[in-house]
Symmetry: C2
Subunit: 304 residues, 2 copies
DNA sequence: CCACTTTAATTGGTATTACCGATTATGATA
DNA sequence: TATCATAATCGGTAATACCAATTAAAGTGG
């Protein structure tokens, strides 16, 4: 059995990969350039393979090097988690917690969540980041985030998840347009191109189309909005209807408008909200408690 | 940011946990007892918490210590995998591969699989271990095994899997008992207590009951067998019928008997065979190729 | 064409620490 | 009480991690 590589050298490799420059990587690692340089060479020797190609002035990560970086990132993330876990004495709901959330949930959840967690767990240091599902998953892998609040179903890519609850979709339109409709609304009563949705990168779009059985795309307007608030504007201007999640409506997104929220057809016209975290975590218990806190704030909690 | 624990010290902790004795753990780690002792103390200082309670003669792992051991095992397994991966130059299907398999698959797969892999990938060093699903999953976590061939569905516990294919269940009985039955066999034509199954710890039992919609437990004989070959003996002695997977029949388990295999009722009377591996692995590509090789040997390959 | 800058590798010296063998302290056992 | 087994401690040594300074090579600007 050959000698294990040192975590320090692996972290040097990560820093080099991030900064693509020995000096800056060394600075970021709080060591001298020579230390980092020999650390990398050391690592290459221990692993028995070339990680970077040097061409006398600059360098390039080999394909092998890239793969080692990926694996090393995972190892270091786990180790840092272990350290955090141990240093907080294994106490639940303490220490830093970096939470990612998608834009169609964040504005209607994080305010209340922040308040409720502060009150229940004052030692928990919350940090939020709002981004798309795929970006959040990348940051989760990198160890830059600890857990994500997402709309399911998605490809979990080996992560674990709790299902927190359901968030029903409502069909929202101006009250004058809605006057001669009965619930649940059958879509072919609506004119073509009268339904407005978000841009494609928002998973809400796909989930709404699927959940509300909106296969007939002729009803969908090709113009796409960038936020739920834009959709509200569009609907309030009587340009058409849209789908909004119950969470947003509960938090008053329709206040000051002349819009009404109708029950759409579709057997289960709702999205599921889930909490996603790394399979390698050492804080399962904390995530469980976090899941309970979040579920309590959802329209239809179904923690599992 | 505090200093990361060293992998060496973590491995000392694992050795100590395994041997429950400083001297033996030190010997197994190829260091002196004093080195290991101070290594552990060092680790406790870095982690800022007590890992073992010393009572002047013996010691006991604290709950914290146990949890650190679990996480450390995962970290060290990942690191060893990285080392293997790098040292084999990242080549696919090379180096050691420790494969676990359940007893209701192993005898009917591993022979052919071994031959086929030897021919296709002569540099792959295969090792097999046969055990129950839950034991195999433990060994996978520990890093003692690299991948498992199991019957799905199971709780993956954060591992990843490929579905390799379907393995239909057949209702097997003596040809005289079968003479006045028509396929697919409706179970209430059978006498009570006439169906024999394996012991509870074999997942085949549960899967067969579920897949063949055998909810009516009055038909199931309370005597349980310990192997498929025992079931064949029982059926051949005209004591009753049993369920056997197609794989076993294809490999000739009924040869030399007077048994016939009938199609059971039940919409999808089959089990799925899957390959399970750690989410933290660095050998996904290798497992993919392995999955292809295994799938090719199944009755109904459906790799996904 | 030549200073000047930037880059990564190399060198030599120093401080750290990893490790061992020996010793000690403490229960358990005979 | 003597002996044994165990884990912690101690003192010395070998290994190595690290830095500052230097070198080598390749751009850059005048």
């Amino acid at each position: 059995m050959s000698k294990l590589p040192s975590l320090k050298n692996l972290s040097y490799l990560l820093a080099l990969h991030q900064h693509q420059n020995f000096n800056r990587a060394a600075e970021a690692s709080h060591v001298s350039q020579s230390t980092l340089s020999s650390g990398i060479q050391n690592l290459e020797e221990q692993l028995g393979c070339q990680l970077i190609e040097r061409d006398h002035k600059s360098f390039l990560f080999t394909s092998m090097g890239e793969q080692v970086v990926d694996q090393a990132r995972q190892i270091l993330t786990s180790t840092e988690e272990l350290l955090n876990f141990a240093q907080s004495q294994g106490k639940l709901m303490e220490g830093p917690m970096r939470l990612g959330c998608i834009p169609t949930i964040a504005p209607f959840l994080l305010g209340d969540l922040s308040k409720s967690l502060q009150r229940q767990y004052p030692k928990l240091q919350l940090n939020f980041r709002e981004d798309t599902t795929s970006n959040l998953l990348l940051h989760l892998r990198n160890g830059e985030l600890d857990a994500l609040v997402l709309a399911l179903p998605i490809d979990l890519q080996g992560n674990l998840s709790y299902v927190l609850g359901r968030d029903p979709f409502k069909l929202v339109m101006h009250k004058q347009l809605a006057s001669d409709l009965s619930e649940p609304v059958i879509y072919n009563q609506l004119p073509d191109q009268s339904i407005f949705l978000l841009e494609r990168e928002h998973c809400l779009t796909g989930h709404a189309v699927a959940a509300c059985e909106l296969a007939d795309s002729a009803k969908i307007n090709p113009f796409t909005a960038t936020s739920l608030h834009s959709l509200v504007q569009i609907a309030d201007a009587r340009l058409g209807a849209t789908f909004l999640p119950q969470m947003a409506i509960d938090r008053g997104i329709l206040n000051g408008t002349d819009l009404v929220a109708l029950k759409p057809s579709g057997h289960q016209a709702a999205r599921e909200i889930g909490l996603v975290y790394r399979a390698t975590t050492s804080r399962r218990q904390t995530f469980r408690k976090l899941a309970e806190s979040i579920a309590a704030l959802l329209p239809e909690p179904t923690l599992s």
